[in-house]
Structures are given as C-alpha cells and as structure tokens.
Subunit: 326 residues, 2 copies
DNA sequence: ATGAAAGCGCTAACAA
DNA sequence: TTGTTAGCGCTTTCAT
C-alpha cells in the first residue's frame, strides 16, 4: 500500500506537507503543491480512511436500520434516506433486520464504525434499544414513535389505524379482518391499537392476525375459510395489503367486488393503477426521512436538538379502487 | 472516549492484556480475563474500529453499487446481497446511483473504506470503471456482463432480449414498442441488443425508446398516439413494464386485451397476481448475488479466482397474463 | 512555507 | 501468563 510517506519521498517534501496538500489547508507554495499532486498522481495514492478517522473520530458513515427491502415502503424509505444522507456528506451502511432473527441487527450495529445510527421501520425487540443506548453512538428513530432517549419523527400511526377503521365502518363493513401489527414494531403496533380502539367502539367483529410472520397464507386461508368471512381487510402496511390482494386473486376472489382491502402507509406501490390500493398515510411528498437524518446529524454534532412535531404527522385517506361500500 | 488504556488502568493490567482479552486470543489467566471484562463492562468500553482497521487493513465493509431502490428488482438484489454479505462477515455500504447524475457514485466510492466493491445493476458511465480500477480496491461485477478486470456473474441478458422478441413474434404482434435499454447500463443494453437483433430478422416495426430517463410518460404517450400504435410493448426491466401497465391503465387501456406487455428480469413483483407480468428471466430462486459476493470476497482475500459461468446463465420465459396472441 | 515530532487506539512481536 | 515496545497512516502542534 502506498502511503503519504511514499508520496513525500517522491515529491521531495515532508510527509506533513503532503497532508497539508491533501487537506488543502493552510498556505502551501503553489510549486510544492504541484510536486505533491504529481507524485500522488504517479503513485495513484489514496489516503487511508482508517488512519484519518482514527484521528478525526469521524468515519463519514451512518448506519441505517431497516426492515426487509422487499417491502416497497422500506425500499423507498431506505433509498431516500441514503440519498439525503449522501447530500449531507455521509455514506450509509444498510443494516437490514431479518424478521426471523430480529435481535441480530442490534448486535452487529454495535461493532459499526458509524458516527450515528438511524433506526427506521424495524422491530424493537429484546434488549435491542438497550444495546443501541449502550453503544454510545448517537441515534435517532425515524418513522415510529419510540419514547426513549433517541428522538423520533413519524406519522401518527395510531390515527392512521383509526382512520382506516372509520373508513371501513362508513362503508358498512361489519366483519373485518386485520393483518399485521406485531407488537415488537411500534409503528405497526400503534396502527393496530388505533384500529382496534375504534372498531371496538362500534362493536364490529374483528378477525385479527398480529403475529410477526412473513407468511400470510395460512392466516388469510383461515380468515376466508369461515362461514362469516370478512367483507373487508385492513392491513398494517401496504405491502401486506398488496400481498393479501395477490393471495385473494389466486383464490378466485375479485377485488373489491368480493372483498375490500385497505392498506396503511400510502406507499408508491399502493398508488399504482394496476394495484389501486386504498391506503391511509402521508402524502407521497412528505419527507419524514429528512427530519430523521437532520435529527441524527444534529445529535452527531452535539447541536442543540432540533424540535420534532409532537405526536406525529397527521395522515390522510387516499381512496383508490380496492375498497367499496356494501 | 474510553480506550483500552482506561480499561487497563481500571483492571490493573497492561493495555496489551486488554487487547488479548478482546481478541480472546492466546492464553490469558481466567482471573485476569474476568478483571478485564468487568472493567470493560463498567466503563462500557467499545473497541475503536478505526484503530483496528488501521492495523489489520480490514474494515469489514464492502461497498455495493446499485440502481434506485424504487425498482423492485434493485431492491430485491440489494436486500439479498446485504444479507448474504453479512453472513460472510461483511457490513455493506449501499451506494445508490442517481440516474440523473450517474457518475457521482463512482467518485464517492473512491473515498470508501470498503475492502471490496460490488458493482450491481448500474450504468457504467464516463470514467466510472476507470475510477474503480484506479481505486485499487478489489471489485467485481454482478448482474451484468462487463468484460474488464472485474469478474462478472450474470444472466445472459442478450438471450433474454431475444427470447422476449421471439415470444412476442410468436404471438403475432407486428408493431412492437421497446422501453429502456440505455447504452450506459450494459445489462439493459444487452437486452436491447438481443431484442433488436431478432426483431430485425423478422422485419418487425419497432418503436424504441432507449434513453436514460426516469419519466416514461412522454415516451408512452408518443407511442400510443400513433395511428399504427404498437400491439405489444417489451420493457427492458419488469419495473419499466409495470410502469407501462400503470400508465396504460390510466389512459383507459386494458391489459392484455388492448395491448400486450412483456418485461425482463422475472422479479418478484412481476409474479404478483394483481400484476401478472409475463417476463423473461431467471427463476426466482437463482442466487446471482451469491456468486457475486463470493467472487468479491475471493478477490479481497487474493484467492485464486473462482470461475464464473461463461456467457451468463440462460433465462426462461415466465408466461403470466399481461401478454396474449392477436 | 515547510519540517520534525507527537500521538490517535489498537495489534503483534519480543521480553520477562 | 503478562508487560514493554514498536508501529499502522495520518493530522496537528510546535519549531524553524
């Protein structure tokens, strides 16, 4: 490996001068600068990032924790977050949480050289948050309401659940299924809570499945096998909603003629005409990820904390074609 | 920041011993080990990753270059690659290429502390590959056939294009649109080449759009505005195909009654029943990403290069419901 | 404007 | 088994 020392020798200057040129700091003689740059060129020298961050205590890396990317909502969130972080000068390590082993992601993150950790849509499981805390690395939550030391910025997930419930009720559905809302994932749990609360008020019959599962087939089978099968299903995420539609079509149902489906999240996917998934969520242009990244960077820099909206952003209903009145 | 020196002092041992305990190498006295671990616990000490990698010349990080995650094919690829890399002991930095500024990703990657670079589905633009080469960091291509120093592992994209062409021809379509296939992205360019070659043989009228654009609306409008509008459209990726379907539905068309659509890639998305996109690609369980990661790790370790299948893996046709004969 | 030297936190000889 | 010491490649005083 070629070091700044090699460059210095070739350029006939001291190693410190090479460093100065690299950081184009201070006033270095133009002639010297040229000599050094020529040597850098010739040797194809690249500064060693590890040595730099050993001194500066800055790696230029943040870690993003996120659920599986086959959920378009997660993919969209990650993509936007990574792009925005890059704008802000950070490279992003992506740590994807395996739903079958949700604790693992918290462990690997401790070894990270990241300057900060952004906890996106993930399951908060076991000693996970404690590990985050103990890592000593600044962190922030984004997309869920976690009441800890990390800040958070989020949609009001509970309100979203309630709105889905109200909508389905207004469409005269009285036997309703619910999919998702695993209690380890605060975002989804809050959605379920809001939904349940409102439905209970109306004394609607609810068939809920809130387990942390990746395979919804048996759940959907069980729901649809009943004599009083649901006339509508509300899903904790659009991805689950889309999956339900996929499944139901395979089983011969027509959507929404045979059964109505409502998602939560208002992802891009939901808005596609071939899916047309009615969904409760924030308008597409809402930049939750920006607030998250800004918040995290503020924490990294030890700035006074940027205030976040209390209680989360209020979602809206986006009516498309997957749900109708009966 | 608490260092191994602080731990050593508290434990009443030398700093080297702390290091030994950390790497649970050599034989350290059980009693000493306990003292050290207690001190680590008490101070909540975490080893400094930068210092470690300064010595070991290993960061435990690989960089993955990939196209935008709102293409489900990219999201799927990234997710699987990251998971597999983690299995192999590597954390992944995700570098997403902005289609509007495709060169940027090659520059930022040079500064990376990554031990290796995996070039996934991206546009090879300008001096990009040269920069890769000059970075001195081992790299490998994955998902496209680039004939350089980096190895590659891929589907036979050219064959995929040809197969799509043959299929559409066998369905009696004689005015056919093509979407995508930007020449900067070898993967897509090869698909286009294969398609064009076969179509030209048949003297079919082709309306092609191969620009590097993110907005297909004007292209689709222009195609469908013609008096002899195409009866079928082949898309260079499933994501583009899905977008075309979305657009066409919005314009009042029924798929496949009014127009047939065929994608390439056979992504999970294509297989969803609500989309049902006929596509040419590898079976879903094909693990291209594994070969890519394995290849890269071999290069990192300087192992003798693992051989890759020549000419790429042969794709298959997955007939679903978006294309019919006329 | 430039060089010499200290040291970031750690690992890995080499001693003891 | 443990301590001492020498760097890894760089930034940053402090001299010159």
């Amino acid at each position: 490996m070629v070091s700044s020392n090699d460059v210095a020798k070739l350029a006939g200057v001291s190693q410190a001068t090479v460093s100065r040129v690299l950081n184009n700091s201070e006033k270095v003689n133009a002639a010297t600068t040229k000599k050094v740059n020529d040597a850098i060129q010739e040797l194809n020298y690249r500064p060693n990032a590890a040595a730099r961050s050993l001194i500066s205590r800055k790696s230029g890396i943040i870690a993003l924790m996120c659920g599986p990317l086959d959920d378009p909502e997660n993919a969209e969130f990650s993509g936007k977050t990574i792009a925005y972080a890059r704008e802000k000068g950070f490279i992003t390590e992506l740590h994807i949480q395996d739903p079958n082993e949700p604790a693992a992601v918290f462990e690997s993150i401790g070894r990270s050289q990241a300057e900060g950790i952004l906890a996106g849509p993930i399951m908060l499981v076991g000693a996970g948050v404690e590990l985050l805390e103990k890592s000593g690395i600044p962190y922030a939550f984004c997309g869920m309401e976690y009441q800890g030391n990390g800040s958070f910025i989020s949609m009001d997930n509970r309100a979203a659940g309630s709105m889905a419930a109200d909508y389905i009720y207004s469409l005269n559905h009285r036997v309703v299924g619910w999919l998702g809302g695993n209690s380890d994932e605060p975002r989804l749990h809050d959605r379920y809570t809001g939904f349940l609360e409102r439905m209970k008020q109306q004394e609607i019959e609810i068939l809920s499945a809130t387990d942390a599962i990746s395979d919804w087939d048996p759940i959907l089978s069980a729901m649809m096998a009943r004599k009083d099968r649901p006339t509508a299903i509300v899903a904790a995420t659009d991805a689950i909603g889309a999956y339900a539609i996929d499944f139901l079509i395979a089983y011969g149902y027509s959507i929404p003629e045979d059964i109505s489906i409502v998602g939560i999240g208002n992802s891009k996917q939901a808005a596609m005409n071939y899916l047309g998934l009615t969904s409760v969520g924030l308008p597409g242009e809402t930049d939750i990820f920006k607030a998250g990244v800004d918040q995290l960077i503020a924490r990294i820099n030890g700035d006074s904390i940027v205030p976040v909206p209390k209680g989360g952003l209020m979602p809206e209903l986006f009516e498309r074609k997957s749900a109708v009145a009966i």
